[in-house]
């Protein structure tokens, strides 16, 4: 097994072929997602991920439930008692069925990356976040550092895994497998700046049609100050928590200094305590 090992980039690198800086990502438009799970299967197929076992959860059509070390793209199904504007369901009380194809967000401020002690998590030349499997030692820090609950440690393999934005395909100038498989282009892949424009246009279009509840999630830096722009961002039809997305995700290292500061204070106290103790010990003589 050979894994490409990217070098650590703190800023966007130039595309090796064109010399142009490339910042790529996904714009996932849940309003055109049809919940077909082609993306989920394509991801497994391309990355040769194993199945998660067979168990019926009886939670709508969702039997893989969440992102994990072996499910890097997951389609969620939300049946709820709220309407979607402009849709008539004739099911008695208001109803709608929402779908979301979720994956790693490749955050601008990535909790997983900044907390990874080994440097296994790196930012690639495409400005995506990538775990180097030959570096990761399975310390599990990233698992608790992702505000979206994306990355996970595999119980037997021991390492942490998540969506690579198909780093190996990007290297070959190919579209990531999930986006390639998506029949409705609900997962649009491309240059980030373009995708952001596209998202704005689509949002305006939906608002024009009266779908007032449509909103972007993570498209722009100031939407989610805690992580800044997501490189895989979404158009949602309700508030993020409905989709099991955090309303205000914060990359934990944003606040790490608060921790260090309070530690410093405590340590000052402890040092003082030591001094006091020693002095009183001396006085005892």
């Amino acid at each position: 097994m050979s894994n490409p090992t990217p070098t650590l980039h703190t800023t966007t690198a130039n595309d090796p072929v064109t010399g142009v800086a490339r910042q790529v990502g996904f714009f996932t438009d849940t309003s055109v997602c049809i919940g077909c799970k082609a993306c989920e299967v394509a991801c497994k197929q391309w990355n040769q991920l194993p199945d998660d076992g067979f168990s019926l959860t009886a939670k709508s059509f969702d039997n893989t439930i969440d992102l994990s070390a072996t499910t890097w793209r997951h389609v969620g199904f939300i049946e709820r008692d709220e309407p979607v504007s402009g849709q008539e369901t004739n099911l008695g009380d208001p109803f709608s069925w929402l779908f979301i194809a979720d994956s790693c967000k490749h955050c601008e401020d990535a909790g997983c990356l900044d907390n990874c002690p080994t440097g296994a998590l790196v930012r690639t030349e495409y400005d995506t976040v990538y775990v180097q499997p030959d570096i990761c030692n399975g310390c599990g820090t990233c698992v608790v550092s992702c505000p979206f609950g994306v990355i996970d440690k595999h119980p037997t393999d021991g390492r942490a895994w998540k969506c690579t934005m198909c780093y190996d395909r990007l290297k070959d100038d190919e579209t990531p497998a999930c986006a390639q498989a998506c029949p409705t282009e609900a997962i649009a892949f491309g240059e980030l700046s373009e995708l952001r424009e596209r998202a704005d246009v689509r949002l305006a279009e939906l608002h024009d049609r009266g779908v007032a509840e449509a909103r972007l999630y993570g498209a722009h830096d100031d939407d989610l100050p805690g992580t800044r722009g997501l490189h895989a961002f979404y158009l949602l039809l309700d508030s993020p928590d409905v989709y099991s997305l955090p309303t205000n995700p914060v990359a934990p290292q944003k606040t790490v200094n608060e921790g260090w500061r309070s530690m410093a204070g405590a340590l000052g106290a402890m040092a003082a305590g030591v001094a006091v103790a020693m002095l009183s010990g001396r006085r005892a003589r």
Partner: protein
Amino acid sequence: MSRHDQRPDIVMRHPPGSWQALAAGEFGSDGRNVDTRRAELSGEGAGLEAGARVGDRGHLGDASQTTVAEEVSKRVTKQSRWTWEVPAYFAVGGMAGAAATLAAGALLAGLGGDEQRLVRSGRVIALGGTAVGSVLLVADLGRPERFWHMLRVWRPSSPMNVGSWVLAGFGTASAVAAVLGRSRNRRLRFVGDVAGLTAGVLGLPMAGYTGVLLGATAQPAWWHARRWLPRLFVASAASAGAGALELIPMSPDEERAVRIFAIGARAADLAVSKAMVHDLADTPEVAAAYGNGQAGRRKKLAERLTAGALAAALVSSKVRAARPLAGALGLAGSFATRFAVMQATVKPGGT
């Protein structure tokens, strides 16, 4: 006799790459559907084992009548995959750090005369703690043989990384101090003392960085307590460091110094613990994470043990037998604190 009886049973022979083997699910049966004899397994996840996740998913019992939205929203952030080794390390490492600091203090204060029992036992505890702690830490890694990758990079944004460097420095210094500090060669002893002082300084972050580490995660229970966990952990480490020393008989001045430190540490621990709960009341889910369930029970136990340790330390100046008791309770309280915090998780997430 039916014709069936005269026929041999269907025999399935599966030469490599055969169709029958595929049909019998002989390859592809690892959940990857790739015939390894016909295709190269080079995908990113090719090495992962199948079926390892089943137990982790929502199952029937909790499914009935809940809406999917409710059900999934519990999973916004992932539970930590850390097992008991990690909180145990937190306790052991903290204890080691505080012990080393006390030892350094004693050295500077010149406590203990020639015997230097406080200095020496502090150093031994520091070394032992580092050794045990490192084993615990490595054991928890998914790929233990790659433990040294922690020191591959210097990543100040990662408390785990910073902590690893601290641990490495602290461990080295403790080892040098413990070994050379007893040398008869004066120069070597000097080196040992310098190392001891270094360990004493590094012992401070050793006692506290784990609190920063937990506070710098996306786990709501920890993140919301990010200003409190370092304080709690420092106090707890101090209590444990003192506790370990309380188990060892020393000269009266040394014992007094340790006792006073222990009393302060335990009082601080209890105070921080209360203050933290009070502060977290604004976010009831987070407060509940520390107040309810197993985490809550452990937290209560920790507080009781620490309070017991405090009381024992207070009386130990009069009642000698209370001294080791205080030490044991202090240590136990510190362990309980770490396990309690580790257990605290917020169910319906969002940071």
